[in-house]
């Protein structure tokens, strides 16, 4: 593969920690040049470990990966020269200003002196931090820190960009501003973007293709549309008016398809040819009262549920609880 290729290719990539789980369990990846690849999964699924390996900060236990045609183990410096990365937490120095950060980054990235100032101003403008450039980072909001983090990753004009949960904790406005910028980088500059997220909407809106990872393994991969089409049929979600009716509602719904577990409501994946009206008529006939009834097109959460038997939210909670139990037992 020529080194000018901005792709990411991984084969049976794995990382095992001493006394720990197999955080990444032999994954295969193929991210095309200029593509935005969403790596979706709950906390602890192996997303960040994968990013650390692909950005050369963590050697894999086994398997291989090439980033822009360079081997991540044997050609680390070459990989780093063509990638930009904003890792899970915006690692910024609270005592430096935004401009200080960009100056330091451009010096370390070897940007020629003549270009440094212009590049700094260009990036500050691009992420909307020109006004705040000379303020210390400790006074920045979460969104401003993330935007600065992105600007720092772009200083040396990388061909590939790794963003590890870039919008976590951001307000909707900051989130959508960051999405726009990431989309622009891919569409206008041809940058390949590898983006990890636990937000379904983010993967759905932003990613050309999505890989769903759970317990270190990729359980589904494709475009959001393909993945949802793979689930195929819509589902009906019902909130009972009386909690005591839940078993009767479940029994009634079971006639229309496969019951879905794990949610807070009672839900069924409809068989082909059935619709919301059929369910409403049945409830009417059975004398069942509901507070809410909703027909939902398949979402990526449904894909996650279909592939893992859990909802993304439920998986995150379960992993948090098991981490707490593990922590307590140590």
């Amino acid at each position: 593969m020529p080194p000018s290729d901005n792709s990411i290719v991984a084969e049976r990539l794995a990382r095992e920690f001493r006394k720990g789980p197999r955080a990444v369990d032999g994954i295969d990846l193929h991210v095309a040049p200029g593509e935005i690849y969403g790596f979706l999964g709950p906390n602890g699924a192996g997303k960040s470990t994968t990013v650390l390996m692909l950005t050369t900060l963590l050697p894999p236990t086994s398997g291989t990966a090439r980033v822009a045609g360079f081997d991540i183990v044997k050609q680390g410096p070459q990989v780093r020269s063509v990638i930009g990365a904003a890792l899970q937490e915006a690692a910024l120095d609270p005592l430096l200003t935004g401009r200080d950060h960009l100056r330091l980054q451009s010096l370390l990235q070897g940007i020629p002196k003549a270009d440094r100032r212009a590049r700094t101003e260009e990036l500050l403008a691009r992420v909307g931090l020109t006004q705040a450039a000379d303020r210390k980072v400790r006074g920045y909001s979460g969104g401003m820190k993330r935007r600065l983090d992105l600007a720092l990753a772009l200083v040396h004009r990388p061909r590939l960009l790794f963003l590890d949960e870039p919008t976590i904790g951001l307000d909707p406005q900051s989130r959508s501003a960051l999405w726009e910028e990431v989309a622009r980088l891919a569409r206008e500059d041809g940058v390949t973007v590898f983006l990890t997220t636990q937000y379904l909407e983010e993967a759905d809106v932003l990613a050309d293709r999505v890989g769903i990872i759970d317990h270190g393994r990729i359980v589904a991969e494709g475009t959001p549309a393909e993945l949802k089409a793979g689930i195929g049929r819509p589902s009906v979600h019902v909130l009972p008016a009386d909690e005591g009716d839940r078993p009767r509602i479940a029994a009634s719904l079971a006639r229309f398809g496969e019951l879905l577990e794990g949610g807070r409501d009672v839900a069924v994946r409809l068989r082909d040819g059935l619709g919301l009206a059929d369910v409403v008529r049945a409830f009417d006939a059975d004398g069942l009262a509901v507070d809410d009834i909703e027909l939902r097109a398949p979402t990526l959460d449904d894909v996650f549920l279909a592939k893992t038997g859990r909802t993304l939210e439920g998986a995150a909670e379960a992993d948090d609880q098991s981490a707490a139990v593990d922590g307590g037992s140590r």
């Binding site: 950005t55 900060l57 050697p59 680390g76 020269s81 690692a91 200080d100 330091l104 370390l108």
Partner: protein, 256 residues
């Protein structure tokens, strides 16, 4: 490129320190305040037969240099540990920055501050009336020695930061370093110490030779033995600390 990297990291190190008054003022004020208290309270010590000077201020002026260097240890260590804890070191690892340039830049910042502190201490001492027996030529030697001691102690702080990855652990070591200062010839010449075990410990303690090197320039003039011992100990501390820090750095700055 190496020089640019060192300069960039040193600049950041200095900028960080200067923006934290709590890291600048105490290393200047506390050693000088302690020196003033000791100079006033222990002046009678100079009446002991064999005491090398009739001014305890001149005798005590060496102490701030070592105390200042101890503060440098603390600051150098906690700053580096914070970079590890916050992931800033990962950010640096993704750039072409060489590990040796990171350490050199970080320590350059520490040394510049150490020298600035030394200029402050000697100025205060001279203004307060202490003489400087080595004359004007001794000043650059004193500053070079202060730079060397800051380098060694800064490298030691960096080693502990890289080893532990925790600013709290580095701060926890500060009292231990201070014990070395107190069990030394800080307040009395070693040959006048009447308690045998204390004199033995002070003789074994490398800090005594650092103090006596500075003291010789202030009180005696050019004392080859004190200068050689002091410089030798300072070089040894710097060499060992740099070797230890360099060995630990790749463990924290992991990249393929």
């Amino acid at each position: 490129m190496f020089a640019t990297q060192v300069g960039a990291v040193a600049q950041r190190s200095l900028r960080r320190t200067l923006r934290q008054p709590a890291n600048v003022i105490p290393p200047l004020v506390f050693p000088v305040a302690l020196m003033a208290v000791n100079a006033a309270g222990l002046q009678a010590s100079t009446l002991l037969p064999g005491f090398p000077t009739d001014s305890f201020l001149a005798f005590a002026l060496a102490v701030p240099f070592i105390q200042g260097a101890l503060f440098s240890t603390l600051n150098a260590g906690t700053d580096l540990a914070r970079d590890i804890q916050t992931g800033f070191l990962n950010r640096l690892s993704l750039t072409p920055l060489r590990g040796s340039a990171l350490l050199a830049g970080h320590l350059t910042g520490v040394v510049v501050l150490g020298v600035a502190q030394a200029v402050f201490y000697i100025s205060v001492g001279l203004i307060a009336g202490a003489g400087f027996a080595a004359g004007p030529a001794g000043i650059p030697v004193l500053l070079a020695f202060a730079a060397l001691v800051s380098l060694g102690f800064g490298a030691l702080g960096s080693y502990f930061a890289l080893r532990s990855g925790s600013g709290e652990t580095v701060q926890g070591l500060f009292p231990v370093f201070f014990v070395f200062l107190f069990i030394s010839s800080m307040n009395a010449p070693r040959d006048l110490m009447a308690v045998d075990w204390f004199r033995t410990l002070a003789t074994l303690n490398p800090v005594s030779y650092l103090l006596e090197c500075v003291r010789s320039l202030i009180i005696t003039g050019w004392d080859p033995r004190a200068l050689t011992l002091g410089l030798g100990v300072a070089v040894a501390i710097a060499a060992v600390a740099l070797a230890l820090a360099s060995r630990e750095l790749p463990r924290r700055m992991t990249r393929t």
